[in-house]
């Protein structure tokens, strides 16, 4: 297949109040893997949308083989040989693999009728050629995440993409699926395609890329070759200062049990058992992490503990008192802090001010209200105090919470939840989608809570986070707790196997 060079020169894209991409230059050729690494909000997604024709750049140009070109829609990008595998899969769940793959390039027979046999044949041809096993007639919603990604890749290859862009492709994969995915990337490169790999995970960029470009605040701030660099060096480029990649903490000294779950099961509205007989305890002075691939019941488990979801059977107790039937406010009063998984929908009311959000769980306390009247003066004073103490970057706490960056929104939640008199912290995905600097901060706060004598339960799908933060790791698979291990005694790979529902051969649990 013939070679191609794709180049972005001087790309600038502005949104009201923000320069998302600032004079970005990068190029990729067939036969190589370019990793584009940067924090959330660094402008990676904007850049990808520009090069895929979803956005028009304000300045700068796209060049294919040194010829200037323009994409005004994804159709143009596809025609030019650019393919994109989106982070959130662009697949219609109720349709078959073949229907999804041929959408937009449908083979037709008479009167515009769809030639579904031809579509099946096209899928088989591509999947055979690249050893991407697929059943053309399977319905997307029945497939696992890993297989769905394969469908996306076949979709791109079917359109004969010479440059394939992967946007955060490993976010939803298990460790063994990630290895398999890297194999696919290597075979694409071997077949003469070019790959742009967008990620925020340092390890993966170092492992798979030929070259690494680092994006910070919309600018390319550096380029590195994996063999000449280190995780720490790239992280520093990403953040702009040296960062601590490992959580700095002393060994745990767990004491009495604080949060106890006994045979807790949760059934969703469709009648599926999503949490299946979970039993564990979280002790004072330890951080327990629940690992697992997204969608294995972690969300429901946390909601059950926080009182947002009814428990079908089993009991939950806090400090020896049964709280199974208590309301969220009663649980709050009993000393539970909850940092929810979905910051913007559950953690904050983004259309309220920062101050209002900071007193959202305590507006009824005598400190902030008297009868039906709010004491806004007291709330503003408290808010100013928390903004300073928790390093929330804002010029004015009376601004809407929606004006804050993801990391600062998370700090608002952390400040609200941890600044009370609490006994147990339940945090779901506490660092999802926030910048490395904020991650470091949130981790430090969690460790501080542990050392101050709270019981801490963290749910995370980021295995690196689990391994560095946890004193004890529980693995959840299909609603069941399938492992309870010491992170110092097991490897990443072992946990990965638990996450995939199998068991390491030399089990250490």
């Amino acid at each position: 297949m013939h070679e191609m060079k794709f180049e972005l020169r001087g790309i600038t894209k502005r949104f009201p109040g923000v320069v998302a991409n600032d004079n970005v230059n990068l190029s990729v050729e067939t036969g190589e893997v370019l990793a584009l690494i940067g924090e959330n909000g660094a402008g990676k997604s904007t850049l990808m949308n520009v090069l895929y024709g979803l956005y028009r750049a304000d300045e700068g140009e796209l060049l294919i083989d040194d010829q200037a070109t323009q994409f005004s829609s994804p159709a143009d990008a596809i025609a030019a040989g650019i393919g994109m595998v989106h982070q959130h899969f662009m697949l219609v769940p109720v349709m078959t693999v073949a229907e999804n793959v041929v959408l937009g390039v449908e083979p037709t027979g008479r009167f515009g009728s769809l030639d579904i046999d031809e579509a099946r044949r096209m899928v088989r041809e591509v999947s055979d050629r690249y050893h991407l096993e697929l059943d053309p007639d399977a319905i997307i919603e029945d497939l696992s995440v890993g297989v769905r990604q394969r469908v996306e890749i076949v979709k791109v290859l079917m359109r004969d993409a010479k440059i394939v862009v992967f946007d955060e492709p490993t976010a939803v994969l298990t460790p063994s699926e990630i290895l398999e995915f890297f194999g696919i990337v290597r075979s694409l490169v071997a077949a003469g395609r070019g790959v742009i790999f967008i990620t925020h995970k340092l390890k993966e960029a170092l492992e798979i890329a030929d070259r690494i470009n680092v994006l910070r605040r919309g600018k390319v701030v550096g380029e590195a070759l994996p063999k000449n660099t280190s995780e720490a060096a790239i992280a520093e480029m990403m953040v702009g200062r040296p960062v601590l990649l490992v959580v700095d903490k002393a060994p745990a000294t767990p004491r009495e049990a604080m949060l106890t779950l006994a045979e807790v099961s949760v059934v969703d509205p469709d009648g599926r058992t999503v949490v299946d007989g979970a039993s564990f305890e979280v002790r004072v002075g330890e951080i327990v992490c629940v690992a697992g691939v997204q969608g294995n019941g972690q969300t429901e488990l946390v909601e059950a503990i926080a009182g947002l979801r009814r428990v079908a059977s089993g009991s939950i107790s806090l400090g020896g008192k049964n709280i199974t039937g208590d309301s969220p406010r009663e649980r709050h009063a009993a000393g539970m802090a909850h940092i929810p998984e979905d910051r913007q929908r559950q953690g904050l009311v983004t259309e309220l001010s920062i101050t209002e959000n900071l007193v959202l769980t305590r507006y009824h306390d005598a400190e902030f209200s008297q009868g039906i009247r709010m004491k806004w003066g007291a709330a503003a004073a408290k808010s100013q105090e928390l903004v300073t103490a928790y390093d929330i970057r804002t010029t004015d706490p009376s601004q809407l919470a929606s004006t804050l960056s993801g990391g600062n929104q998370q700090k608002v939640i952390v400040a609200r939840e941890l600044s009370r008199d609490i006994r147990v912290v339940v945090a779901a995905q506490p660092t999802r989608g926030i910048d490395v600097g904020s991650i470091e901060y949130v981790h430090a706060q969690i460790v501080k809570e542990r050392d101050a004598g709270r019981a801490v339960l963290v749910v995370s799908t980021e295995l690196d986070e689990v391994m560095s933060l946890a004193d004890r790791v529980l693995v959840m698979y299909r609603g069941k707790i399938v492992a309870d291990v010491d992170p110092k005694k097991v490897s990443h790979m072992d946990i990965g196997l638990y996450m995939a529902g199998s068991r390491p051969t030399a089990a250490v649990a």
Binding site: E106, R272, E300
Partner: protein, 413 residues
């Protein structure tokens, strides 16, 4: 999300629940048989052609059916009918309906075949309205303005046909439907206004304007502007001679044949063509289609205008297909019943046709029963089609699944 957890359990739990409620429903029907259908004595004559009829003894049939229904209920509750349960449901419903008619017509006789012929004719606007709804919602736009489209095009086609001829009148109806659909399209696609609110606005707009036209223009000029001879039925040779069914299906106006053809074409189009694949995709997950180079909003515009045209023909049915004039609010909620047919038919044209026939039957029965001395007040009978709508939608709405993206405007990122 958590779809992976124990799927086997789900199905059986859900099935058990459905089986139990079906069993209870059979018991309720049996009670109705015993307490009401056995009250009247005498034979009911069901005429099935000009010269022949069959008779059912109202009381005896009521008793017999009641007993059979109890047996069915027992069977359903104790062990279920497995694959046959839908067949059993259909047979039981049909028998119950016959018993009801026998009760109503006890000691009298009526044209059974005429009633069914009327049913098919009356299904036309509901079917076409439902196909318009399917075209819109499958593309991701909620369309509750079908009522308004039917009403407005009924009005304009009546005027058009009175002033010119039936063909041009129908064309005017089509253009009216398209114009209202264009308003819905621009408001919901271009300006991203809440689709339900736009739909409501269109409905009230159509009701207001057509009422005004009716009082101020049509009533004073009744003979010139609101007076036409509706189309005659077309007998299809050979097919129309099939006993019983021939008269019901093949001795109808062109509107009926068009409505069947539309259902067939829409089904083929949605499931067997490139257009259909793209349409279903933009109704479920428009971004998937958009990132593959499909112009989502353009396709939505096209499909909405097409829906408007289909609804326009549905509206023209009133003046041109049956009544011969326009009256204020002549559609009287049929557009909403069409939406119920969409849900009943699970967004599938053939299913929607079945739904439309059920609702049309309720209406035809209501008209027929008015002739008998059943003691049911006529006001209550007028409620019948809506009552059936309510029961049917309540019974089915949980089980069906709307296109996921219906109601959500699409933006290019």
């Amino acid at each position: 999300m958590s779809t992976s957890a124990a799927p086997g359990l789900v199905v059986s739990a859900e099935q058990r629940k459905r089986a139990r409620s079906l069993g209870i429903a059979y018991l309720v029907l049996a009670v109705v048989c015993f307490t009401i259908f056995t009250r009247r004595t005498g034979d009911a004559g069901f005429r099935i052609s000009e010269s022949s009829q069959f008779t059912l003894p109202a009381q005896g049939f009521g008793w017999a059916l009641g007993i059979v229904l109890i047996a069915i209920a027992a069977g359903q509750l104790l062990r279920g009918f497995g694959k046959l349960s839908n067949v059993v449901l259909a047979l039981a419903t049909a028998a119950f309906f016959m018993s009801f008619m026998a009760w109503a017509a006890a000691g009298d006789s009526f044209s059974f075949v005429g009633m069914l012929q009327d049913t098919v004719s009356r299904s036309v606007p509901i079917t076409l309205g439902a196909v318009a709804g399917i075209l819109s919602e499958r593309s991701g736009v909620i369309n509750i303005s079908i009522e308004g489209m039917l009403l407005a095009s009924a009005c304009t086609s009546a005027i058009g046909a009175s002033l010119t001829n039936l063909w041009l009148g129908t064309l005017v109806g089509i253009l009216t439907g398209v114009a209202l659909a264009a308003i819905l399209a621009v408001m919901s696609i271009r300006y991203k206004v809440d689709q339900v609110i736009v739909g409501f606005a269109i409905n009230f707009f159509a009701l207001g304007v057509t009422s005004f036209i009716s009082f101020r223009v049509l009533v004073p000029n009744r003979d010139t502007m609101n007076n036409l001879l509706p189309v005659m039925p077309i007998r299809i040779p050979l097919f129309a001679d099939i006993p019983f069914f021939g008269q019901i299906l093949f001795d109808q106006t062109i509107f009926v044949y068009f409505s069947f053809a539309t259902v067939a074409l829409a089904t083929w189009g949605l499931y067997r063509t490139k257009w259909g694949l793209r349409t279903r995709a933009i109704g479920e997950y428009p971004r998937a289609a958009g990132t593959l180079g499909v112009d989502v909003n353009k396709l939505r515009y096209r499909n909405l205008l097409l829906a408007g045209a289909v609804a326009g023909i549905g509206g023209a049915w009133w003046p041109i297909g049956i009544v011969g004039r326009f009256d204020q609010n002549i559609t009287n909620g049929r557009g909403f019943i069409a939406l119920a047919a969409v849900i009943f038919g699970r967004w599938h044209p053939v299913g929607a046709l079945c739904g439309a026939l059920v609702f049309a039957l309720a209406e035809a029965v209501r008209l027929k029963i008015g002739n008998f001395d059943t003691g049911i007040p006529s006001e209550f009978l007028i409620m019948a089609p809506y009552l059936v709508t309510l029961v049917v939608v309540a019974g089915f709405i949980g089980a069906s699944r709307a296109p996921k993206a219906a109601g959500q405007p699409y933006e290019d990122q």
